[in-house]
Subunit: 340 residues, 2 copies
């Protein structure tokens, strides 16, 4: 070990409306100790995800908020640098929940070993990790897309949306994405193979969406809420399904945004269901099997957007909330010593 210092990023204060750099604090702390039967880890990659906005607030949710002064939470890929657990060796690469810090100590039971030969290990935070499984379970378990149906997803170049649309195509659906700007839209259509991708900044988004969905919308995978939701709603077909995964356009609003029209819910017999990925934890092996196979066969592509250095995590995260990332956002916290 070349350092005895562990840099961490703490939640300094709770945002009202949009968070800013002042809500975070970079501190230096001593290295933790590996617990009995546990390991000491050096963070290689830290995942940045929209759900973290929710954890910054005190509002009651499915998970406890981060306390003021605590390390920000987050999924991580780390290297074992010291092991007191026979299941892990120095140099092993593991998936865990170390949060926004350079070093962490963890019991072995909370870690999953990754095989660097099977896939780049950063993908365990994206297409082969929580965001990929969110897309897979929300679309297939709640959305239940059938061949010939139309699936719409916003944030379509992002970690979840990109997988939603590609699985929709694999299942024989028409996939229509919504993304921010011509560059992302081009990528979604040309690289990811969606049938259409619309710019959410277009003043005539509702009209464009109607043209892109000539047979209406059967599945709306809800990532964003706000104006996109309002454009989608009148186009929903009878018996449409709406998995509610996120509402990123509404996270920083300080006044309530009107909910969707309940007459449509009644008349069209819509199904709306909020979920988080762990509601479908029993589908993890199917997810890993299917998505890995689709990646190998070229049916499913992914794009990562790297930020270098833990100190740049807050800026990266703030950009994520504004849609500045292009692909799954990951912080490169440290380089692996050898194997990864």
């Amino acid at each position: 070990m070349t350092t005895s210092v562990n840099r961490q990023i703490l939640l300094k204060s709770r945002p009202e409306g949009a968070p800013g750099p002042d809500n975070f604090e970079l501190v230096e702390r001593p290295l933790p100790q590996a617990p009995e039967d546990g390991v000491l880890l050096r963070t290689l990659y830290l995942s940045l995800d929209p759900y973290m906005r929710g954890r910054m607030s005190a509002a009651k949710s499915y998970a406890n908020p981060v306390e003021i002064g605590d390390v920000m939470v987050g999924g991580t890929v780390s290297e074992v640098i010291e092991s007191r657990n026979a299941a892990f060796s120095k140099g092993d690469i593991v998936l865990g929940q170390a949060g926004w810090q350079e070093y962490s100590a963890a019991p072995g039971s909370r870690l999953r070993k990754l095989d660097p030969k099977a896939a780049p290990v950063s993908t365990a935070l994206g297409v082969l990790g929580m965001p990929g499984m969110t897309a897979y379970t929300g679309l297939l378990e709640i959305g239940q897309p059938k061949p010939g149906e139309t699936v719409v997803v916003a944030a379509a170049s992002g970690a979840v949306g990109a997988v939603v649309g590609q699985i929709a195509k694999i299942k024989g659906c028409r996939a229509v994405g919504i993304a921010g700007g011509a560059k992302k839209c081009g990528f979604v259509k040309d690289e990811l193979g969606f049938d259409e991708c619309l710019d959410h900044n277009a003043p005539d988004l509702a009209r464009q969406l109607e043209a892109a969905c000539p047979k209406g919308i059967d599945v709306y995978f809800e990532n964003v809420g706000g104006a996109v939701q309002q454009a989608v709603w009148p186009l929903l077909n009878p018996f449409a399904r709406i998995p509610v995964c996120g509402l990123i356009a509404q996270y920083n609003m300080t006044t309530p945004f009107p909910g969707p029209d309940m007459f449509s819910v009644l008349r069209k017999r819509l199904l709306i269901r909020g979920f988080i990925v762990w509601d479908f934890a029993d589908r993890e092996q199917d997810f890993l099997h299917d998505v890995a196979a689709w990646i190998r066969s070229g049916k499913l592509k992914y794009r990562e957007d790297f930020v270098d250095g833990l100190e740049n995590a807050p800026q990266g995260f703030l950009g994520l909330l504004q849609g500045k990332n292009f692909g799954k956002l990951v912080v490169r916290v440290g380089a692996a010593s050898g194997r990864a």
Copy 2:
């Protein structure tokens, strides 16, 4: 036959906001002819139901609107007065869809014969008919109540709500009703056996509801929308289910009522699903079997509210939209000639 005149009530004009007597027109027409393989029917009972408000509007829905000048639609119990179909004899009592008129002609395929000895035939329009099956399927198929859970239903003394709460009790749940006024609330609690029933006119309804649901709400059977929905929403538990059956408090609003908070849907992983009874047509035999058995064993009670004479159907219906009925609202259109 003692008459050659068929009185009918037509939709004269579409209401904007609350309908009134002027939207209806009573006319006299010649008696129809029984078609080949069909029957001529005399209406005994006409069902009045909230869904008819939707049919008066031109808005696209799961069913076509009634056209201006057409007979208002509605479920009916009728007596066969002439038969050209071997399956039906003069004097048989049948369930059909004759609408708001005294006589009708129908193909035999659209009718179900009723057994007057099994139950009063008017119940085929209520507890053993469409409203009862709406309660049964919406609660059991979408609400999926589990023992110990709390089920809330408004319009609790009405045709659907009364059955929802009683089935909730049969399934081991806490049943909390909401109804209009002390008399209905007393009936719901004392006669139907709900654990609580609150007056929707109470200025502190939200507080009362919180007190009546100390463990939160797991199933909210949505009949009414509006202020009741807003009182219910903050009390919903994680994974609560909301079958959306009706929005009677909103039917006459001319400006959109704000939909429910989508953050709750996300954070609490709520399930909201609109339905109509025929979405679960395959459950009809189970429904008839179970509800008839519960009635026989005294576990499920029902109350009917009769209006006498077809000419009084509009006034009865307008009262229904204002909650003036007390129990399942049925028009006695004619007396049976003998058997019923």
